[in-house]
């Protein structure tokens, strides 16, 4: 039997060289009846071999693989950048633990309303760091991370409503309303000094904003980074201006409407300032109409026909116009 397997392999190699079955079998007259069907089967097996993929198939596969590689690559540095190194984390938590022993949890409670730039802010962030450090369960940790990201967004909203200038970093969804950029409802200013990612930042992308708030209530962006697609980030409050506008604005509105809109007033002011800075008078007018709340009907004159329904349903003033959806 072993012999036959060896002979079969020898015959297959002869077949590879282009010889035909019968001429190969003349060397093995005693085994030719056993070998012939096997060599025929080998020929059949070779006949169904397939050609290389066409350029279109290669291009599609390449795009898929490279996209995946990019996502994996981005996931890594983001996680690293945001995580505090282990040794520092430990040192950090010891300091916080010591603070807690000395001062009790009152300090932590007091710090929970602090904003960037305030004395107790570092205690607030340390406490968050400690909670993350102690969260061993991956799910609990990601819930906490999301909670803290929401906290960052709220801090920024409060800073801009108070017109304070502080360095901030927060994550959110990139949107455009009336051609103005926002991240999760926070108006942002992109200048020529802003570091932007290589890829185009599309509306709806999750991003991290590094920059500072200014007196006009806008975040001046120093660096805008794209997060991997699908990263969960806070959506923020709706931007009021697009209530009377078309589909894109309403889509943002719908997203935002799930979140408590406690900073609406701040946004109206901000958007006004934003509009002024860019000489966009139509924007400004719309904002004024909006911030009046019940002035929807006069607002509709700017945005063309078909808005009468909106005007009626939007009489809540400042609230989300869910009827649009």
């Amino acid at each position: 039997m072993n012999d036959l397997m060896e002979i079969l392999e020898t015959c297959l190699q002869e077949l590879d060289k282009g010889r035909n079955v019968e001429s190969i079998l003349t060397a093995y007259p005693e085994k030719s009846n056993q070998l012939r069907p096997l060599l025929t089967a080998a020929q059949r097996a070779r006949e169904i071999s397939v050609p290389d993929p066409g350029p279109e198939v290669i291009r599609r596969g390449r795009a898929k693989v490279m996209q995946h590689a990019m996502e994996l690559r981005e996931r890594q540095p983001v996680a690293n950048k945001r995580a505090i190194p282990m040794v520092q984390r430990l040192a950090f938590s010891f300091v916080v633990a010591a603070l807690l022993v000395v001062s009790g949890t009152g300090l932590v409670r007091a710090s929970s309303y602090s904003l960037p730039g305030e004395n107790l802010y570092s205690v607030k962030r340390s406490w968050e760091g400690l909670r993350l450090l102690l969260a061993l369960d991956e799910d609990i940790r990601s819930d906490l991370e999301f909670e803290f990201e929401n906290e960052r967004l709220e801090e920024v909203s409060e800073l801009i409503s108070e017109g304070r200038t502080e360095t901030i970093q927060f994550a959110g969804v990139f949107m455009e309303v009336n051609g103005m950029p926002y991240v999760s409802g926070v108006p942002i200013l992109i200048t020529e000094n802003t570091q932007l990612p290589d890829q185009v930042v599309e509306v709806g992308s999750s991003v991290i904003v590094l920059g500072h708030t200014n007196k006009q209530g806008i975040v001046e962006v120093e660096k805008l980074e794209l997060l991997p697609q699908g990263t969960i980030v806070p959506v923020g409050s709706p931007v009021e201006v697009e209530d009377k506008l078309d589909g894109e604005g309403n889509a943002n509105d719908a997203e935002g409407s799930e979140i408590d809109s406690k900073v609406d007033n701040g946004f109206d002011d901000n958007v006004n300032s934003h509009g002024n800075g860019n000489d966009n008078n139509e924007n400004e007018n719309l904002n004024e109409n909006n911030s009046n709340g019940n002035g929807s009907n006069s607002g509709s004159s700017h945005s063309g026909g078909g808005d009468d329904d909106d005007g009626d349903s939007g009489s809540g003033g400042g609230g989300d116009d869910d009827d649009d959806d």
């Binding site: 169904i48 198939v57 693989v65 690559r73 890594q76």
Partner: protein, 204 residues
């Protein structure tokens, strides 16, 4: 789910230069390092080098171009993920890729047969007028595919490597991490089964 990598193949027992087919360990390792960083250049090179081969392997085994295309890119994505999660192939990248492709194909076929829709050979059929000789050839292909599809996974695997990809017996042995004699035996049984199945197809 990631499939575990086959044990690394000992290259030194091979009696001839295998650099064409089996990368040297150092090549593999520099590529694996680039993979861990998801260096686009390395990923691109690995894709260019292996995608056509994995695609042909998958297409030979399942005879469905769309599925073969998906499987081939899926296998390379699995390699990226394995490298990221710290379980990259330690050597013999091609062996790892082919091994993974074989698992993915087997999974695909299992799912396909658990909810059968069309026969394997039907997916190759392309209705429309064509010359009689071409029609004959297509019929023969369908018959061979149909017979091939009835072989065991191991038998299909060895035939795909030996006759679909055209690897030598030694190359096949290195890729599937078996001894050359074991591959000769497997090949013998696979061809005998194929011949038997072909006979039955002819009888139908």
């Amino acid at each position: 789910m990631l499939y575990s990598a086959p044990r690394s193949v000992i290259l030194s027992h091979l009696p001839f230069d295998k650099t064409n087919v089996i990368m040297t360990t150092s090549d593999s390792q520099s590529e694996i390092k680039g993979l861990q960083d998801h260096d686009p250049k390395v990923v691109g090179e690995i894709y260019d080098r292996y995608f056509p081969e994995i695609y042909r392997y998958a297409l030979y085994r399942i005879g469905d171009q769309t599925a073969a295309e998906d499987i081939a890119s899926d296998v390379i994505v699995r390699l990226l993920e394995a490298s990221k999660s710290g379980h990259p192939p330690r050597s013999n990248l091609r062996g790892w890729l082919i091994g993974t492709a074989s698992h993915v194909v087997t999974d695909h076929l299992r799912r396909k047969y658990s909810r059968p829709t069309e026969s394997l050979s039907d997916s190759l059929a392309d209705p429309g007028p064509e010359p009689a000789s071409q029609l004959d050839r297509r019929e023969t292909h369908r018959a061979v595919h149909s017979a091939y599809a009835r072989l065991t996974s191991d038998q299909q695997h060895v035939l795909a490597l030996r006759f679909g990809q055209g690897y030598s017996i030694e190359e096949t042995a290195a890729l599937i991490n078996k001894k050359v004699n074991a591959v000769k035996a497997l090949q013998f049984r696979a061809l005998a089964s194929l011949q038997r199945e072909l006979g039955e197809v002819d009888d139908e």
